[in-house]
C-alpha cells in the first residue's frame, strides 16, 4: 500500500508534468475562487454587519447556514445553469476551469461573508463611539473596520480556501474531470478511488495536504510580519 502512496510523492518531487499540471490547476481554481469570494463576501458581510434593515436576523441566519452548502448541490445547480441547454449555455462554460471557479466561489462566499459579518459587527461594537465622535463617514468606517479586522478576515480567507481546496463534489460535476484540462487533485483522487487505486488516491491526498499546509504557513508568516509593524 505504501508503494503507490510514495510513488505519488515521488512524482511530485521529480516534477512529473501531469501531476504538476493537476497541482497547478488545483491551486489556480481554489485560489481564484477564494479571492473572488473575498471580493464579494467581505463587503457583503460588512454591509449586513453595519446596516439595520428588515429581516436582518433572517439574513444572518441564512448567511451562516449557507456556509454548509452541499458542494454536490452547488455543482448540480451550476451544471444545469451552464449546460448548453440551460439559461447560461451561451457562455459555453461547462466542463471548463472557469465553471469550476464559479462553483467554488458560490461555495466560499458565504463563509467569508459570515465571518466578515461577525468580525465587523464585533469590531463596530468596540469602535462605534470613537469613530462616531471622530465624525468618520460611512465608507471610511467600513474600510477602517475591514483593515483593523484584517487578521480575523485573513482567517476567513484561509477557511474559505480550505473549503475550496478540499472539495470535489461541485468541481467534478461542472468540470467533468477531463484529463489535462479540468482534473484537479481532488477530482483525480475521486477517479483513482473509483478505479480502485486507493493508495495512489491517498498519495494525492497527501500532496493536497502539503499544499494546504504551505498556504497556511504562508498566511501565518504574513500575519506575523504584519503584527510586527501594526498595532
Amino acid at each position: 500500500m505504501g508503494g503507490e502512496t510514495l510513488s505519488a510523492l515521488h512524482l511530485l518531487f521529480t516534477g512529473d508534468p501531469a501531476l504538476l499540471a493537476i497541482v497547478r490547476l488545483s491551486i489556480a481554481v481554489s485560489l481564484s475562487a477564494t479571492m473572488l469570494a473575498a471580493l464579494l463576501g467581505a463587503p457583503l458581510g460588512a454591509l449586513v454587519a453595519l446596516t439595520r434593515f428588515r429581516g436582518r436576523e433572517v439574513a444572518i441566519v441564512a448567511l451562516n447556514a449557507m456556509m454548509g452548502l452541499p458542494p454536490v448541490m452547488v455543482g448540480l445547480v451550476c451544471y444545469l445553469a451552464l449546460s448548453r441547454s440551460g439559461p447560461l449555455g451561451a457562455w459555453g462554460l461547462l466542463f471548463t476551469p472557469k465553471a469550476m471557479v464559479i462553483a467554488q466561489t458560490i461555495l466560499v462566499t458565504p463563509i467569508i461573508a459570515a465571518i466578515t459579518r461577525q468580525t465587523v459587527e464585533d469590531l463596530w461594537a468596540e469602535y462605534r463611539d470613537e469613530l462616531t465622535a471622530m465624525n468618520v463617514g460611512p465608507i471610511w468606517r467600513v474600510a477602517t473596520l475591514l483593515w483593523d479586522g484584517r487578521f480575523s478576515l485573513a482567517t476567513a480567507f484561509l477557511a474559505g480556501y480550505g473549503r475550496a481546496a478540499a472539495e470535489v463534489g461541485s468541481i467534478i460535476i461542472v468540470g467533468g474531470n477531463i484529463e489535462g484540462f479540468t482534473r484537479t487533485i481532488t477530482t483525480a483522487m475521486a477517479l483513482e478511488t473509483s478505479k480502485g487505486n486507493l493508495s495512489l488516491a491517498i498519495g494525492l491526498g497527501i500532496v493536497l495536504l502539503l499544499i494546504v499546509i504551505l498556504v497556511s504557513a504562508l498566511a501565518m508568516t504574513v500575519r506575523r510580519a504584519g503584527e510586527r509593524f501594526a498595532g
Binding site: L25, L31, S32, A38, G89, K98, K195
Partner: protein, 282 residues
Amino acid sequence: MNPAAGMRMWLTVGVAAVALSGAATRAQADSRSIVVASTTSTQDSGLFEYLLPLFKEKTGIAVKVVAQGTGQALDTGRRGDADVVFVHAKAAELRFLAEGESLRRYPVMYNDFVLIGPKSDPAGIKGLKDIEQALRTIEAKQAPFVSRGDRSGTHLAELALWKACGVDIEQVRGSWYKSIGQGMGAALNFAAASNAYVLSDRATWIHFAHKADLEIVVEGDRRLFNQYGVMLVNPAKHPNVRRAFGQAFIDYLISPEGQRAIANYKIHGQQLFYPDANDPGA
C-alpha cells in the same frame, strides 16, 4: 492605513483573482478541440490515454473526454454539452438516434465482460461457458453479487443478462444483491472485500491491482461481448456542436489506421478491444 490605500489593495486583489482564473483557463487549445462524452470503464481501460495523442498528432485536434456513466453520457449529448458520444449500450444508443439526437451511429469496436468471483466459488459455477446458466445459479443459491447500479453500460449489460436468463432481478433481489451506484473499480473493491461475484469489463479487471481472492469464473460467452458505438451529436439540434472536428474524430476511429491502433492497445500483453467498424451487424 487610509481608505484610499485600502481600496487600492482590494482592487489589486480583484485584478489578481481575475488574472489567476484567466491563467487557470489559459492552458487550452480551445479552438481545435472537441468534447467527447464517454464512459468511465472506457476511460479506466486507458484506451484514451493511448489513442487520443495519436489522433492529436495526426489532426492537431485535442479531445476532451468527460467520463460518465452511459446514461449520463447520452444525457450530456442530449443537452448539447458534448460534440460526440462514445458509449457501449446499443439499445440506449438506438434510442438516442430515434430521438433525433444524432443522425448516424458508427460501430467501432467491442470488448468483453467477464464474470468475476471468489476462488471459493460458493455458487459452484467456475468454468461454465454459459453466462445465463451461471447467473441463474447465483440467484438460486443467493450467492453474494455486486452490481454497479449506476445506469452505466456495464450495469445495463448486467440487467440485460438477468432479463435474458429469466430472472426478474427487481423482484428477487435480496440482501445477497448489493447495488452500490459506483464505478467499476469501486465495485471490484467491494466484491474483493465481501467475496462476491461481479460482472466486470475485462480491461478494468486486468488493470485492477487488488484482486485479493477474486478470479475470472466465466468468460468467452458471446453474450458477454460489449459493443461500442460512436455518434456525432446532431448539429441541427445543437448549433454549438463542432461538426467538422467531431466527424474527424469519428472518421479516425473507423479508419483502417484508427482500427489498427485500437487493436494494438494492450495491457500486460493482452488485447482489450476488437475493432469491428466494418461489421454490418455490430
